[in-house]
Amino acid sequence: MSGQGPVLRLRGVGARLGERDVLRDIDLDIPVGTSLGIVGVNGVGKSTLLRILAGVLRPSAGHCYLTDSSGVLRETSRISSRERSRRLAYVPQEEVASTELLVGEMVALGRVPRTRPWARGGTQERAIVRAALDAVGLADRIDDPCDRLSGGERRRAVMARGLAQECPVMLLDEPTNHLDVAWQLRLLHTVADRAETLVATIHDLDLALRSFDRLAVLGRPQGSDPDTGPATVVAHGPPAEVLDDISVDLHFGVGSVQVTHPHLAQPHLLIHPRKDHSA
């Protein structure tokens, strides 16, 4: 497996939901070993893009590729869903945990891709589940019912299920939603440490600036309807370049300035209404 080749690739990808073109002409290479953040305004199609990458939604146009276990790029739809689920762990945004599962049982679902459907979870599975829960700080809740968890805890438990899949690629839809500030800072690093390649959608631009190797901005290009037109990748590159003040103004409609933290060597993004910017 080459270290620099893409693990995920999109070529000319478009998506239709119902009668609406949501995405169009998306080309994207995600190299092995990188972390990519996907940013964009509400409703622009970030989750749709992630679902296409995850192989749970077929693009209406174009092609989506994933490297299989031997390192060869193959069209995602040609890879069996079982093999795909051993290559990439996808954690959807909002999940209704509607059954009376215990936290440990829910996280153990992450082992489904690697066990026979009739197998009983053994001690090894229990160890993996515990380790995954430990990584998100919920090891002591393993035998609690899922609905005893708060919103943020539930989010972390679902992340633990993704970790228990032990996949080289992780796709996370808004992983930091509902989390308190400490976990917002910690979770992405926790996941990045455990997955070779990480792709996540995120709406906190300041956090995005510091948490990823690269960012892709999903937006509606000029000439397309600014409210309902299809979106595409309008900027892609190192976070500091992608989130410069002109780009943030253009794609998010706010003024911004990147500053260095006075005590730490890390960039921050200060955001303010447009009129202050011009003043």
């Binding site: 689920s85 209704v96 059954t99 489904v112 459907p117 009739w118 197998a119 019912p145 609905d147």
Partner: protein, 349 residues
């Protein structure tokens, strides 16, 4: 957050299953004593023993071996089958209110059975006329739900629920119409008795097919327990976990339609068992299919066995339909279980 152990007491799985097994065997034997003719339990045991050891049949042989034992076994099979089907249906449509008859199966069966009763159309099948009519009606309605749901985009929960419910109403109306148009004044009565269910017509010949099918499909579902858990968590999650959601839904639909169609054909539309027994099992042992399916099967069988005993004892020598007893006994029993702890299936408690 406060009471961690509040609704979280689970019954250990293995002892519960063993207990239910022992209780089922003992109950099956003891139940043979009850009926329009009271037989001492010792004589029942002797009569069964004679048969098993190949001794000359005693004076209770016909009643115990040919009438009551197949009936008791059919009650176990139908109860187990309905409970497993109910658990499967609740997972397929991800709805706690689902029961085995959701896909219009019982209404379709009642149209078939009613047609057989009121028109005598299937008289050529002799004593199997009503069952045959019911089976044809059940499979037909399941097929119709399938076609409607597929034509509209797939076997998704909401489509299955809606087309099943709508079709059920339509078919019930047709069944009522058939009764209304019938010249036979007793038709309404026999149709109603049939719809509320009975295992009274049991015989050894009628027993083996539902027994084999329930066992095979129950084991098949148990062999996919992890996939069913994933499906219950949601289609997107299941797909992300490598489960072929469309194929699993199709397999589940076909298996449940055939099983429920057959059960309805032999025993009528016994309500409530398939709805409450799976919930009761989840309350006792938790929601993973590996433990829910065996507990629901054994519990459903045991429950229906005693329901049948009650049904033939309460208004002797009259037998009351099983659906009446399952409702009257099942509702308070389930509410009692529900009070045991905060139950969560289907959303926030």
């Amino acid at each position: 957050m406060s009471s961690v152990s509040g609704g979280n007491r689970r019954v250990p799985f293995v002892p519960l299953v063993l207990g239910l097994l022992v209780a089922s065997v003992l109950s099956a034997v003891v139940s043979l004593a009850f009926g329009s003719e009271r037989i001492p339990v010792a004589d029942v045991v002797a009569a069964v023993g004679d048969r098993i050891q190949g001794d000359a049949p005693g004076k209770w042989d016909v009643i115990v071996w040919d009438l009551r034992l197949p009936r008791a076994l059919l009650a176990l099979v139908v109860g187990a089958g309905l409970a497993v089907a109910g658990a499967g249906m609740q997972t397929l449509v991800r709805n706690p209110l689902a029961d085995p008859f959701l896909l219009g199966i019982s209404s379709g069966a009642s149209v078939g059975a009613t047609a057989a009763i009121t028109t005598g159309a299937l008289a050529g099948f002799g004593i199997y006329a009503v069952s045959t009519g019911a089976l044809v009606g059940a499979i037909g309605s399941a097929l119709l739900v399938w076609l409607v749901a597929t034509a509209q985009g797939g076997l998704t929960p909401i489509r299955l629920v809606l087309s099943g419910v709508v079709l059920s109403s339509g078919l019930s109306a047709i069944a009522s119409f058939l009764v209304f148009m019938s010249d036979d004044p007793r038709a309404a009565n026999s149709v109603m008795f049939w719809m509320l269910g009975s295992v009274g017509g049991a015989s050894w010949e009628k027993l083996w097919l539902p027994a084999a099918l329930s066992l095979v499909l129950g084991l098949a579902m148990l062999a996919m327990h992890r996939w069913l858990d994933a499906l219950a968590a949601g289609p997107e999650t299941a797909a992300a976990l490598g489960v072929n959601v469309a194929a699993l839904r199709t397999a589940l639909f076909v298996g449940l339609a055939v099983l429920v169609g057959l059960l309805v054909a032999v025993s009528g539309g016994i309500g409530f068992v398939g709805l409450i027994v799976p919930h009761a099992a989840r309350l006792l042992v938790g929601a993973t299919h590996r433990v829910v399916l065996p507990v629901a099967a054994l519990g459903g069988g045991l429950f229906l066995l005693w329901v049948d005993v009650l049904a033939r004892m309460v208004a002797r020598p009259q037998e009351i339909p099983l659906g009446v007893v399952t409702g009257v006994v099942g509702a308070p029993l389930f509410l009692l279980l529900l009070g045991r702890g905060r139950y969560r299936f289907g959303g926030e408690g």
